[in-house]
């Protein structure tokens, strides 16, 4: 088992590297960072553009540029933006913002999703089951940017109804907020609710769908009947034997749900003006900045692969047959 996980891990490291290289090359090929400079009015002198060209090493071959960037990145220096700001300075703050969103989103998504799924399976074809099923279908059919916008509209109505701002929908905190420690925490919470909801709703819908059908599979199984026959109460049999078995396929789902989470994060950060990695990526493409794009890609690749690896580990933890 350890050997298997180690091999998987090594494969993932290689995939990370290749994925980042791919993004770096594609970005270098398609981006024209001098475009913004040349398009200025009045046009800057030719020497300035040449200097910028040399600074960005645009005349070097792409693999050489990548090796230089990756060499620095390994030592914790992710290069500079086109406008000559340090990427590393912003990086960790932005990573923190995104990770907070992702972690809250997954935790909420898995917890609520699993609970709703199990409830739906146990109370199959009841009104509550139909309601959850239908809502998750609708949510899975709606893009995150639509959900986010609707949440914004809803919050506005709520704020107007309460006649005081209860929920905020721009930024992660009120700029220049002065106040006690607890008031600051409350302020952050008020900013946190909507983006977290926007990102978690899709996850909840996804997990509850699968948890429901996995649980339904288990409900009809022989071992559950046996567990009850040997004297366990239904509740105990369901949760000790049923739920654990029904959670196994969720471990695989976890890795896939993460991809959804990341793209969802890009939209959420943009809509609610959170300066995280997703927002940075879009900014990077708009500014035609290879280094920003490569840094965010590396971050995403690491996240996707860590979640894939985690799901392997989870699978092993839940399913004794996998442990050798």
């Amino acid at each position: 088992m350890t050997g298997f996980l180690a091999r998987r891990f090594l494969n993932y490291v290689v995939l990370c590297l290749v994925a980042t290289f791919m993004a770096f090359s594609l970005a270098s090929l398609t981006f024209d960072p001098l475009d913004k400079l040349q398009g200025r009015n009045p046009a800057p002198p030719a020497e300035v553009i040449e200097a910028k060209r040399a600074e960005l090493r645009l005349d070097d071959p792409i693999p050489a540029r990548f090796v230089a960037w990756a060499g620095d990145a390994v030592q914790g220096d992710f290069g500079r933006t086109v406008t000559n700001q340090s990427i590393t300075d912003q990086l960790w703050r932005r990573v923190g913002v995104s990770l907070r969103l992702f972690l809250l989103g997954t935790t909420l998504g898995i917890t609520v999703g699993v609970i709703l799924g199990v409830a739906g399976a146990i109370r199959q074809y009841k009104a509550s089951d139909y309601f959850v099923t239908l809502s998750s279908f609708v949510i899975l059919s709606a893009p995150v940017f639509l959900i986010g916008t609707l949440l914004k509209v809803g919050a506005l109505q709520l704020n107007q109804g309460a006649e005081t701002p209860l929920l905020y929908f721009t930024g992660e905190f009120t700029p220049g907020f002065q106040g006690s420690w607890s008031a600051a925490l409350l302020d952050r919470l008020q900013h946190l609710v909507l983006p977290t909801l926007a990102i978690a709703l899709g996850q909840i819908a996804l997990y509850s769908r699968y948890q429901r059908s996995a649980m339904l599979d288990v409900l009809g199984s022989d071992f559950l009947r046996t567990a009850q026959a040997k004297g366990l109460t239904r509740r105990k049999a369901l949760f000790k034997h049923g739920l654990r078995t029904a959670l196994i396929p969720m471990a695989t789902l976890f890795a896939f749900g993460f991809g959804l989470l990341i793209t969802g994060g890009v939209f959420t950060e943009r809509i609610f003006a959170w300066y995280g990695m997703g927002d940075w990526f879009i900014y990077g493409v708009e500014q035609q900045d290879t280094n920003i794009v490569a840094t965010v890609t590396l971050f995403v690749a690491v996240l996707v692969l860590v979640s894939g690896w985690l799901s392997d580990v989870l699978y092993a933890a839940l399913d004794p047959r996998v442990r050798i």
Binding site: L26, A27, P143, S213, G259, T263, V285, A301, V304
Partner: protein, 330 residues
């Protein structure tokens, strides 16, 4: 949204019928053709029928309404800026007097067409790559699956966004190709898994021993036997492709002005969503409706084509890949 690979292959591949294409074995006597059976099962599912009707209706609306609607999507009404829905402008007007109804219909056309094309192209790629990898095995398999893994590491939204400056100003067909290029990987894995089992079946072996070339075996015997999976998957991909397209267009990386798609309309609308909701509500509502309808049809098709599946959202357990986990690409 899941298709359990191991279960669904069981017993079905040699089932005859128009969808499956008759392999070289003998047809068992069946009182009813498979097509009729599938059709009856599909029609029994009311949600799926309603979904199909909705899609047809949306297509008809998107392509026929420009014939009788009072305004064109590029026209501007200088007497009505930012007006709420009325009799002359059914969905209201934009800041510069554009008719929201005409624009929404145009966007619906674009989004539906792109969704359908992307799904079809990516199905062809997935079937080819998956069947090739599964049939030949060995290093071909390993190389192709490594590419699949690599493409799965990078969310397609990011890759297409990176490429977007290069095709800005080019035709939207290029955008379709790009979307399709990053939408086939999961289906390819499913196809590969099924090919692995099909490869060992007698009719494939017989064909091989008779000297039929490999590509012909793949095209004649392997792929037709996965027709139902491919049909189901293509349907589901239509919804995903529409979501991917709107997502990219939302950021301005997809369909470019002056052309519109539901994504660009929603993006424009959200800027003033709080005060002028008609700018994005109609486009958003139609988008959700279209994707929802496609998903219902996909579910109905699975129940009809694949009696072994456990119905809607059957569990991904046992399947080599959680096939149903078709997370939106964007």
């Amino acid at each position: 949204m899941s298709v359990s690979v191991t279960r669904s292959t069981d017993g079905r591949p040699d089932g005859p019928g128009p969808a499956a294409g008759p392999p070289v074995d003998i047809e068992p006597p069946t009182p009813q053709t498979r097509g009729k059976l599938v059709l009856r099962r599909f029609l029994r599912n009311r949600l799926a029928v309603a979904g199909l009707a909705t899609i047809l209706l949306l297509y008809a609306m998107a392509f026929l309404s420009p014939l009788f609607a009072p305004w064109d999507y590029i026209e501007q009404d200088y007497t009505a800026f930012l007006q709420p829905p009325s009799l002359s402008h059914w969905f209201g007007t934009t800041q510069i007097g554009g008719d929201v109804f005409a624009q929404t219909m145009r966007g619906l056309q674009k989004s539906l067409t792109i969704g359908l094309l992307v799904a079809l192209i990516s199905m062809v790629v997935a079937a080819t790559v998956g069947a090739t990898a599964g049939y030949f095995g060995g290093w071909v398999d390993r190389c192709l699956m490594w590419v699949v893994d690599l493409l799965l590491v990078l969310p397609s939204l990011l890759v297409i966004a990176i490429l977007s400056p290069a095709f800005r100003g080019d035709s939207w067909l290029l955008f379709v190709v790009l979307l399709a290029a990053f939408a086939w990987m999961i289906t390819a894995r499913i196809v590969r898994g099924m090919t692995l089992t099909l490869r060992e079946r007698e009719f494939v072996k017989a064909a091989r021993f008779m000297g039929v070339p490999s590509w012909k075996i793949i095209a004649r015997h392997i792929v037709p036997n996965m027709a139902s999976i491919l049909i189901i998957d293509t349907t589901i991909s239509v919804g995903l492709a529409i979501l991917a397209e709107t997502g990219l267009s939302f950021f301005g990386f997809g369909v470019q002005a002056p052309d519109v798609s539901l994504g660009t309309l929603i993006a424009d609308g959200t800027r003033s969503a709080l005060t002028f909701p008609w700018l994005f509500l109609f486009a958003g509502g139609l988008l959700v409706l279209a994707v929802l309808a496609v998903n219902f049809v996909g579910d109905g098709l699975r129940d009809a084509l694949d009696p072994n599946s456990l119905g809607r959202g059957s569990s991904p357990d046992e399947a080599e890949e959680p096939a149903g986990v078709r997370v939106p690409a964007a």
